[in-house]
Symmetry: C2
Subunit: 196 residues, 2 copies
């Protein structure tokens, strides 16, 4: 009917969880907003996608070379919590109970999906540990075969560094994802971590 | 954590039905897309919002002065189907069983929401009817008090024109919305319209 509408709906329908009907609803919603509002949304998305960086120490999302957590001198630099994704950092930060640093792997080892150790930021983690400072590495990975495999691989890579390696307590149900856990479960899981 | 991420999430969370968690999921999804994909989404939204027009005859969304339906010489110009919203045009067009024109009111009369007849494109409809051509006006409005009131108001405004006025059959449940009806119900409702 309208090429402009069709294009907006088609682009919105590419978002995960957004079907044609929802895309149409979103487009018609945007039509009722001031043009400045739509400009702000578009600019924020483009700006985010084009200018976001990955922290050169921990691979977390960052506006600068170092993310605010790595740049924060008050954080405990002797503890590194290894997570799969940026979402996991946000979930753990939300509990306000962890004061160490993070390391974002960017996924887990998954032969089925063709993801090997070299596809993840594992070498970056090992280099950080070898550089000194770190005394404990906490593995906060999924309780899945892939998560376990990745944890095992990392612990093998770090074996000769003498660093303490722990995993968060199994307070999180098998098959559940870290970023869906509630704060209390997460606090519990972090404080009850077990030494490997 | 990241100002760029926060801004993208904040803007996405303004969309209807999108909470903070979904907004974060959408932002991180965009991060995994090529920059060109995000540029295309943003451009489509801005282009839609800034350049979409309203058809000068029927008030439907349009890329040009006249929408493709009003500009289509093969459509039956003697029948006009009056709907509340653009979504309703799309739903009825989807049935491929209606060959007349439309008129998009842009809402219904609702004293509670402070929407009076002058806030809707009712005069535009009356002018179109007075100009000749139209022989039947089909009211396809919500089966709500507001929809009924609006239909009654329109039929009064058109009373002295001698045009036939009908409403779509009450095949649609009271309180249901036109754009959620299935095709069969809609086809039934249009073909069994009753003369007022």
């Amino acid at each position: 009917m309208s090429r402009l509408l069709d294009r907006a709906v088609d682009e919105l329908a590419k978002l995960p969880g957004v079907g044609d009907r929802t895309a149409l609803r979103l487009a018609l919603h945007l039509l009722r907003q001031p043009t400045e509002g739509v400009d702000a949304l578009s600019a924020a998305l483009v700006d985010f996608r084009r200018n976001i960086k990955f922290c050169r120490r921990c691979n977390n999302l960052s506006d600068d070379e170092l993310c605010p957590i790595c740049a924060d001198a008050t954080r405990d630099r002797s503890t590194v919590c290894v997570v799969e994704q940026v979402k996991d950092v946000l979930s753990i930060e939300h509990t306000r109970s962890y004061r160490g640093l993070y390391h974002v792997l960017g996924g887990v080892i998954s032969p089925i999906q063709g993801i090997g150790p070299s596809d993840l930021k594992i070498n970056m983690l090992v280099d950080n540990v070898r550089r000194g400072e770190v005394r404990e590495v906490i593995l906060a990975l999924s309780t899945s075969i892939e998560g376990e495999t990745t944890g095992y691989y990392i612990s093998r890579q770090l074996a000769d560094t003498g660093v303490k390696i722990s995993t968060i307590a199994r307070g999180i149900g098998f098959g559940d994802e870290i970023d869906y856990a509630d704060d209390i479960t997460l606090v519990h899981a972090i404080s009850n971590r077990t030494t490997l």
